[in-house]
């Protein structure tokens, strides 16, 4: 069973700004279309390893970025992915 984590944004501007900030810092992530099970205002999301979500999320918030949500998506067999919304406070406990 593998899990990926996602960050969604209110607009494309913030998605691409996030990419620009993280590239400079050398973070490991990918910009991807938002998975169907996650509801987002903007069609592009940031995907990263769940171990990195806390660091990346905090990094973006410190840079004043507007973030819509943090998600963990589990894939198991043929079942559809299940999105679990994570609050910003949850970042501390990840």
């Amino acid at each position: 069973m593998t899990a990926s984590c996602y960050i969604t944004f209110p607009t494309t501007f913030f998605a691409i700004r996030a990419e620009s900030i993280l590239k400079e810092k050398g973070s490991s992530f990918k910009m991807v279309p938002v998975p169907r099970s996650i509801s987002s205002s903007c069609g592009t999301a940031l995907m990263c390893a769940c171990d990195d979500l806390s660091t990346i999320g905090k990094n973006l918030l410190e840079n004043g970025l507007e973030i819509e949500g943090f998600y963990e998506l589990e894939e198991s067999g043929l079942k559809k992915p299940v999105a679990k919304e994570l609050s910003i406070d949850d970042l501390e406990s990840i």
């Binding site: 209110p10 494309t12 501007f13 691409i16 205002s41 903007c42 507007e66």
Partner: protein, 388 residues
Amino acid sequence: MNNELNLYFDNAATSWPKPEAVYAAAEKQMRQAFGNPGRSGHTHTLEADRLVYQSRENLSRLFNINDPARVVFALNATDALNIALKGILKKGDHVLYTAMEHNSVLRPLGRLRREGLITASMIPCNAEGYPDLEYLERAYRTETTLLVINQASNVTGTIAPLDQMINSAHKRNVNVLVDAAQTAGTIPIDVKKEGIDMLAFTGHKSLFGPTGTGGLFVRPGLNLAPLREGGTGSQSETDVHPESMPERLEAGTLNSAGLAGLLEGVSFILNTGVEAIRDYESKLRKYLYASLQELEGVTLHGPPSSDQCAAVLSFTLDGADCGEVGYILESTYGVICRTGLHCAPLAHQATGTFPQGTIRLSPGYFTSKNDIDYLVSAVKEIAALAGN
């Protein structure tokens, strides 16, 4: 056209040539990074998104803007000025503007005034194009909310005393909208240092971008009503247009090919340095002014000091119609310029060139001293033909 010379003296209308990278980037965008920015999520869209974002970042660097979200893309300076004026003005507001304003300011204000939404007062300018600052001090009313300043005249090149005018407006809590159509890329602009509330610029003049590009900087804390609403690729489930910048003031597919070119135009400016461009163009205008001044029958309009001007110079020729001089310059000598009224009727009235207009010469960063020598010799021959 003589291949050794650049006989294009109409850079105030649109710049030419552009740096090579501008042409290449616009083509590359259409061939490779062709996605619709903000829509879908595939790789071609992301590539287009990145170009648009980088263009915002580059402009932020050029104008010292902290947050690239405050840079809104528009079709040109006219579009940006319309977004600004119609987005900030409310019923009952009073607006101040200078006599050097372009029709891109005069016409939107004229319509809002005729519809009874606003009142507006003109700050007169002298024959060199400088606004009457004492008049300005007396012109504020309690309902004044905005001062519009053309940073450099497209008729005479006259640079407005921005610092004094902005200080004057801010003392009364009046916002300032600067029209940088003739200055962005050729004169250093620092929105933070100068306290500019809104800056409207075009991409295709001294920023070296393609036509159909331009933008508006809106300082944080200033919330404009959108001129147009529509698709943004975000919050698609609702019929309420997004409130966050820059989407708040942008709707519909952006001109990504144009913006890819603009990105390279601004990169060229950042690499060359605005100060270096300013210094070179100022020297060109000085040389052009001095050379034309020597000629019989030539009357120059605007300030003699090129330190106080953008690289724009207007003249008239005794005994000759402006349009005819322009026609001979192109048909006989291959020299391109603009003649007549330059979409700024009040500026022509202030400088005493209404309604006959002027012959406007606007060299650019790629103009050389040799080009000017050739132009001046052509004007000299035309002046002699006109009986001077």
